[in-house]
Every structure is written in structure tokens, then in C-alpha cells.
């Protein structure tokens, strides 16, 4: 009944207003490339010092996060310019759908999938947070290394049609991830004496550069060819909403599977939204292939429904270690932890006892945030799709302005803007010569994670590699990785992917 009390708190008109304001601000910043929920919440934090009651602030923050994630998927789908790493997987199929006139369906499956997964994962947060939190903290460095390896090998589906090109992209990402201060030894790597590189190349810079700026340069280079025309929007099937009966049939399972992948990954103390969204994409693609379908890469709705659901579910997952142990596992969670401390609340094992009112109100506000997101954004789809009717030159120059603004406001350093443009030029050439973009992002995220965790494990084991095979949990995960690499070929007796070379 604690949860009902939580709802009683949240459903006060003022708090509902905070939720609505949060979702709206969040959607706006999500649309902007580079400015994510963490930065927005950090900037709004000083304003909330003046709130008498922390509940209003947390309700607003939850709204901002959900809104930003949804806003990010909107630009991914319509313009192929994800602003956050969590929206990269959505862009792959989502933009293909938009190019084929199916933007409405893509946005709708993203919105409804986010809602469904958000509700399911919030229920899980409400009822199994404690045991999951205790389980998550059992993972040691060696286990995280194994998990990163599993993620790396099982997302090969992201590599696209040509394995060689996909691997080149991945290696490029791994290299970009190496640049900067090495957190284990404190040494600088590949910075070439440039101070701008000492903190590494931020994932946001990579994404804004490769996607937003690279896409604009590519579009500009082809504007006279006119060969990249976007199909006119298909008529919305009004009776069933934005989704046709067929779309619903193909979406609901990916929503549930996405939620099932997103929540546990978010709950791990090295979690976040990127890995589960990529995994969900891979999973849906593999299923489609096994069923003999080849529409992935050509706008398969499952490739939007799954990752979007996983993305939203991972946020409730991230709150598990935050609320039960005081461990922030994403940038947004870290800022929320700072907010808790300002209101003199110590997230941790005792928070559920000492401030149970607040915890339940926060959980209730997640439900409310999800509902508001759906209510506000479904009608807005009609507005968003109009973006596609904006003349290309105007639209793309607008994207460039916003991307520049986003990168600059993130760092306050014009050199970072140049860096993003440099990466944008790289993104142009990758598009020009048919290299997939998503594996670069994957490399930047997973490379440092794999390396850091392995080296931590080695420090802990005095340099002995046996550490990664003597722990049962580590071994199980590594075996899973091997199986997921080999299984697709064994089961179907299919020729190796090298033979699929185009």
C-alpha cells in the first residue's frame, strides 16, 4: 500500500505540473543533439534548491529523463541524428522506416514501446529492487570483463552487410575509445600533446560528429543529385491509431523482450542504456533471420520497438543500485545522487526505511511520467513528421547550428567543436564509401569498458590471467559469449559470414 500513498503524493496538481514540465523540457533537449538529460538536470539542480519538498524535483527529473530519451529517438528516426548513445540502435531501422514513408509507425512504436517497457520495469523496481540490488553488487571486475566480451561478440549483427567494413568501423571506434587519460595508470594515450584530448573523446562528441554533422555533410554533397529522396508519408491507419494491425502484431513481443533485456542490464553497477539497446537490436535481427525474413536494414519495425523498450526499461534498472546501494551507474543517476544529497537524503541500504515516502513517490512518479509521455507525444507525432517536409537545405543547416550549439554548451570549449567537425568529416567519408556508423559508437563504448575491467581484474589477481576463468560466474558468461558467436553458424549449417561479402 506504500505505492498507493506514493500515487496520492504524485497526483497532486502541482506535482503533475512538475511532471509535465519535466517531460516537455526533456523532449526538447532530447531533440537537441549533444544536450542530454544529465546536463539538463545538472543545470536545473540549483533551481530546485529552493523547493521545500524534494518530491517535486525528483518528479521533474524523472520526466526530463523519459522525455529526453523519447526526444532523442524522434530525431534518430526522422533525421538519422541520434543525440544520445542510447538512441543509436533506434536510428538504424528507424530512419530506414522514415525513408520509406513509415515515420508515423516508427515514432508510434517507439512511444508505445517506451511506455510498455517503462511500466513493466517500474513494477519490477517497485517489487524486486532489493534482491536485484544485492545480486548486482556480486559482479566483480572479471565478470564485467566477460560481460563486455559477451556484448562485443553478440552485437556483430550491427556490423551491417559487409563484415570487413563493419570490423573496420568497429576497430576505428575501439581506437577512438583509447584516446585520453588511462584511468588505471594515469598515463596519456594518443593525445599528441593536445590538451583537448586528455579527457578522451566524449561519446557525445563522437555521436554528434558522426551522425548529425556527418549526415549533414553527406546530404549536402548529394543535394544536386537528388537521389536520396524520401518517400512521401504513408497515410495513417486511423482506426488502429498510428500502427496498423500488422505493426501491432510485430511490435508487442519486441517491446516485452526489450524490457526483459533493459531492466537487468540497467541494474548492473556498470550498466547504462547503450549495451541493452544494442543487444535488443541484435536479438530482434537474429530472430528475423531465423524466421527467414530479410527486412532488417530496410526498416523493420522490430528494430525500433525492441531497442526503444530496452532503453526505457534500463532507466528503472539504473535506479535499482542508486536507491538500494547509493551507486550511480549512469551520468543521469550521478546527478540524481547529487540531488538526493542536497535534500539531505542518503541513497543506500536504508533509504527504503528512512525515506520510504519519497522512494514510493519517486516510483509512482515514474508511472506518471510514462503516462504523460505517451499522452503528450502520441498527438505530437503529427507535428514531428512535418519535419520531413521542411526543405532539405533549411533543415540541414538547422541541424548543423543545433549540433554546434550542443557541443559547445556541453564543454564550453571551441576546440571540442572542431573535434566534432573533424569526426563529422570522417562520418562523411564513411557514408560515402559505405562503412556502417553504428559499430564506431559500439567500439567507443565497449572498448574502454572491456579494457578497464580486464586490467582491474589483472591488478586484483596480481597479473594472473587465471582470474578470468576461475570464477564460476565469469566462466559462465565467457562460455555464453563463445556460444553466441558459434551457434548461428552451427545451427543453420550456414556458410561463414565472410562468404556473404557484397
Amino acid at each position: 500500500m506504500d505505492l498507493l500513498n506514493g500515487f496520492a503524493t504524485v497526483l497532486l496538481p502541482l506535482n503533475l505540473l512538475f511532471a509535465a514540465v519535466g517531460v516537455t523540457i526533456g523532449t526538447l533537449v532530447g531533440v537537441l543533439p549533444g544536450i542530454g538529460p544529465a546536463l539538463t538536470i545538472a543545470l536545473l539542480l540549483p533551481i530546485t534548491f529552493n523547493f521545500d519538498d524534494p518530491i517535486g524535483a525528483f518528479i521533474m527529473f524523472a520526466g526530463i529523463y523519459y522525455g529526453a530519451m523519447y526526444g532523442g529517438s524522434t530525431t534518430s528516426i526522422l533525421l538519422n541524428t541520434p543525440g544520445e548513445s542510447a538512441s543509436v540502435a533506434t536510428a538504424i531501422e528507424g530512419h530506414e522506416m522514415a525513408k520509406r514513408g513509415r515515420a508515423r509507425a516508427a515514432l508510434a512504436t517507439a512511444a508505445i514501446g517506451s511506455f510498455v517497457a517503462g511500466v513493466i520495469s517500474t513494477l519490477l523496481l517497485a517489487f524486486v529492487a532489493k534482491p536485484i540490488g544485492e545480486l548486482a553488487v556480486k559482479f566483480q571486475a572479471a565478470d564485467y570483463f566477460a560481460l563486455a566480451v559477451l556484448a562485443m561478440v553478440s552485437v556483430t549483427a550491427l556490423l551491417g552487410t559487409s563484415l570487413v567494413r563493419g570490423l573496420i568501423s568497429l576497430v576505428l571506434g575501439l581506437f577512438l575509445g583509447l584516446v585520453g587519460l588511462d584511468s588505471v595508470s594515469g598515463q596519456l594515450r594518443f593525445t599528441f600533446g593536445a590538451p583537448v584530448l586528455t579527457e578522451g573523446i566524449g561519446i557525445t562528441i563522437v555521436i554528434v560528429g558522426l551522425f548529425a554533422i556527418g549526415e549533414v555533410l553527406y546530404a549536402a554533397s548529394r543535394v544536386r543529385n537528388g537521389s536520396d529522396e524520401i518517400a512521401p508519408l504513408e497515410k495513417a491507419p486511423l482506426r488502429t491509431g498510428y500502427l496498423s494491425r500488422e505493426d501491432w502484431r510485430r511490435s508487442w513481443r519486441p517491446w516485452l523482450r526489450g524490457a526483459a533485456i533493459g531492466f537487468p542490464f540497467g541494474a548492473l553497477p556498470a550498466g547504462g542504456a547503450e549495451v541493452p539497446t544494442f543487444l535488443s537490436y541484435t536479438f530482434e535481427k537474429r530472430r528475423a533471420e531465423r524466421a527467414g525474413r530479410d527486412d532488417f536494414g530496410k526498416g523493420a519495425i522490430e528494430g525500433v520497438a525492441g531497442p526503444e523498450a530496452a532503453n526505457n526499461a534500463s532507466f528503472s534498472g539504473v535506479l535499482v543500485p542508486l536507491l538500494t546501494l547509493g551507486l550511480p551507474t549512469s551520468a543521469t543517476a550521478a546527478v540524481m545522487l547529487a540531488a538526493f544529497q542536497i535534500f539531505n537524503l542518503q541513497p543506500g541500504p536504508q533509504l527504503f526505511q528512512t525515506s520510504s515516502d519519497l522512494v514510493w513517490a519517486l516510483i509512482a512518479s515514474l508511472f506518471v511520467g510514462n503516462v504523460l509521455l505517451l499522452v503528450l507525444n502520441l498527438p505530437l507525432i503529427q507535428v514531428w513528421v512535418k519535419v520531413l517536409e521542411v526543405p532539405r537545405p533549411v533543415l540541414y543547416s538547422g541541424i548543423l547550428v543545433l549540433a554546434t550549439l550542443g557541443v559547445y554548451s556541453l564543454s564550453g570549449n571551441v576546440l571540442q567543436v572542431f573535434l566534432a567537425y573533424g569526426i563529422g568529416v570522417l562520418g562523411y567519408f564513411m557514408r560515402r564509401y559505405g562503412f556502417p556508423i553504428a559499430p564506431v559508437v559500439l567500439g567507443v563504448i565497449l572498448g574502454p569498458m572491456t579494457e578497464t575491467q580486464l586490467r582491474r581484474a589483472l591488478v586484483i589477481s596480481d597479473g594472473s590471467f587465471t582470474a578470468i576463468v576461475t570464477r564460476p560466474l565469469t566462466l559462465v558468461i565467457l562460455v555464453l559469449a563463445v556460444v553466441s558467436l558459434v551457434l548461428p553458424y552451427v545451427r543453420r549449417g550456414k556458410k561463414l559470414a565472410f562468404a556473404d561479402e557484397d
Binding site: 523540457i25 533537449v29 539542480l45 590538451p195 543500485p321 564543454s411 564550453g412 570549449n413 582491474r456
Partner: protein
């Protein structure tokens, strides 16, 4: 529908610009007597971190208690653990009393590593403001009941103890360094696992990755109260209610994670006196005192000459330590 999209984008842009407040007056230049124009407080790190919170708290106190009659803006300059911000202050803030920067212990190690020729002592020290002690903890089922047992094992067999804390070269790593030196252990043999922050350090201690964890005292508070971790020692001169300081335990080691404020290099004496006087008023203002209490920051106020000597001593001590730890 096109106008509505445009206005949406325009609103977004305005939100972004005004929220970030990073657009500085291009006409700004050094030379004029203080206070004569807008004040710029730089946080040499991203929004939301400790330096940023300090800069914004200073801004709020100066504004709300009406200590400064012109605009005060906070800018964030991200990079190299603060070394990028310092380099910018040194190159663009020459003789300028209107450009302040928040700084702290971590910046000394960062500049030592960045090797871009800048050094915190080149700026004009105004004051130190706050400090937080660091804590050394173990998981509650650890065999170590007190700091002496841990340090004895560490001395006898340095590689048997795995230390966990924030990234290599940061304040947590320095704590292990000063402790090793004070105890006469081999600094080169420290086994240190660098995590990306206090949260990950907690996970590392709880999962059993590391033998002992180091982070700011507030970081471990909830876990200690819940009985998941045991506090062995703190790094302040005086101990906490439930654990001794390293000094009290017999190790001549002390390290406070302090924060302060500096202004551009080469300030005239008149300007420096005026800035110090303003920061003095800031420090005693009700809003600042309220912020200290709210954030749980310990007051660590030293001003002008005292601050200059303190920062010079810390720079020498920490640079030396960073070299000995093999980090530069």
C-alpha cells in the same frame, strides 16, 4: 505547421543558451579597477560536479546577499582534470580581477600530468573555501578491524592489499600515497584500482574486488551506517566519532580534499585587496553559510597570503607525490 516547428526549435535554442550561460562578453578585457564590470567565475569542470557546485554557490551568495551589483556568470571549461581551465585563465586573465576560477587539490596532480606549462601558483590565490576529509573503509566481513592491521599487512606484503578509489592520480590515490610514505611502505608497489568515481568504488568494495576503498567521507556514510562497510580511518587532522584520523593512529599523513578560488595572474595589489575583501564578505554571508550546511561542506577558509602559502605548499607536496607514484 512549419512555423510551429520553427518556434519549437527557437524555444529550444533559447532554453539551451540561457540555461548554459556560457556566452561571455567579448568586450571583456583586463586592466580596469575592481569591481567595474561583470564577474566571471569559471568552473574548470562539467556542470554538476564539485567545482561547478562551488562556483554556482558562490554566484548565488554574491547575488542573493547583494554583494556584487553587476552580473555574475558561471562558465564551465571542461578538460584534463581542470588543467584546460587553468591554462585558459593564465592566458586570457592576465591582470584581470574579474576572472575567477574555482580550484582544488585535484588540479595540482592534473597540471603535473598535463605538462602544458601551467601551474596553479601562477594564478593569484584569493582564498580556500571548503574541504572534505577522505575515508578508508573495508567491507564489514573483512579481517581488518583497524587501520593498523591493514597497514601492517600492506607494509609486509604490499601487493596483498588492493586499494580502490577514484581515477589514478586523484585525491583518493594520493591518500594511499601519503599513507604509504608515512608508514614506510614501498610507494612504487601500491596496487591501486582506479574507478570512475565514488559510486563505482563502493561497488568495488562491496563486490570484494578490492581490499580497501578510499573516497570522500560522505560517499561511504550510508553503507557504513547500514553495516555493509567498516570505517578504518579518516584523513583529517582530527578523527571521526567512530574511527581515528591517520595522525591519531600513528601515521604522519594528512590530506584534505580542499576547494578554493583564484583570480587571473599578475593582479595589482589594489585589485587583489579588493577581491579578497569581497570574498571575505562572501564567506561570512548568510547564504554561503547556509550552503555549507546544506551541502555538508566543511569550512576551510584561508585568505590572501595564508591561502597563497597553503596553495604553494600543497603544490610542492602533491607534485612530488604524483612523481613518486609514477604518474607523471
Amino acid at each position: 505547421m512549419r512555423p510551429s516547428l520553427r518556434s519549437a526549435l527557437a524555444v529550444t535554442a533559447v532554453v539551451a543558451v540561457s540555461a548554459c550561460g556560457q556566452f561571455t562578453d567579448p568586450a571583456a578585457g583586463g586592466g580596469s579597477a575592481f569591481p567595474s564590470r561583470n564577474l566571471e567565475i569559471m568552473a574548470p569542470a562539467a556542470a554538476g560536479g564539485g567545482w561547478d557546485l562551488t562556483a554556482r554557490a558562490m554566484q548565488a551568495a554574491l547575488r542573493d546577499d547583494k554583494l556584487y551589483d553587476k552580473a555574475i556568470e558561471v562558465t564551465n571549461v571542461v578538460g584534463a582534470g581542470g588543467a584546460t581551465g587553468l591554462a585558459q585563465l593564465l592566458s586570457k586573465g592576465q591582470g584581470d580581477a574579474h576572472q575567477w576560477m574555482v580550484t582544488g587539490l585535484v588540479m595540482i596532480g592534473a597540471t603535473e600530468r598535463a605538462k602544458n606549462g601551467s601551474d596553479l601558483t601562477q594564478a593569484t590565490p584569493i582564498a580556500t573555501l571548503t574541504a572534505e576529509a577522505e575515508a578508508i573503509v573495508v567491507r564489514s566481513d573483512s579481517k581488518y578491524q583497524n587501520i593498523k592491521q591493514l597497514v601492517d599487512d600492506f607494509k609486509a606484503n604490499p601487493t596483498s592489499v588492493k586499494w580502490g578509489g577514484g581515477s589514478a592520480g586523484g585525491s583518493d590515490h594520493l591518500v594511499v600515497g601519503v599513507l604509504a610514505k608515512a608508514a614506510g611502505a614501498d610507494v612504487k608497489k601500491i596496487q591501486y584500482v582506479g574507478y570512475s568515481g565514488g559510486g563505482e568504488t563502493k561497488a568495488g568494495v562491496l563486490s570484494g574486488d578490492v581490499t580497501a576503498g578510499v573516497a570522500g567521507v560522505s560517499e561511504f556514510k550510508a553503507n557504513i551506517e547500514a553495516g555493509q562497510m567498516r570505517l578504518l580511518a579518516v584523513t583529517s587532522p582530527k578523527g571521526a566519532s567512530d574511527a581515528p584520523s591517520l595522525k591519531e593512529a600513528g601515521y604522519d599523513a594528512e590530506l584534505m580534499n580542499w576547494r578554493g578560488v583564484v583570480a587571473g595572474p599578475g593582479l595589482s595589489d589594489a585589485d587583489r585587496t579588493a577581491v579578497v575583501a569581497l570574498v571575505d564578505k562572501l564567506h561570512s554571508s548568510p547564504k554561503w553559510q547556509e550552503t555549507l550546511a546544506k551541502q555538508g561542506w566543511t569550512d576551510f577558509y584561508k585568505k590572501d597570503v595564508e591561502a597563497r602559502n597553503f596553495i604553494a605548499n600543497e603544490t610542492m607536496r602533491i607534485s612530488q607525490l604524483v612523481k613518486e607514484l609514477g604518474l607523471s
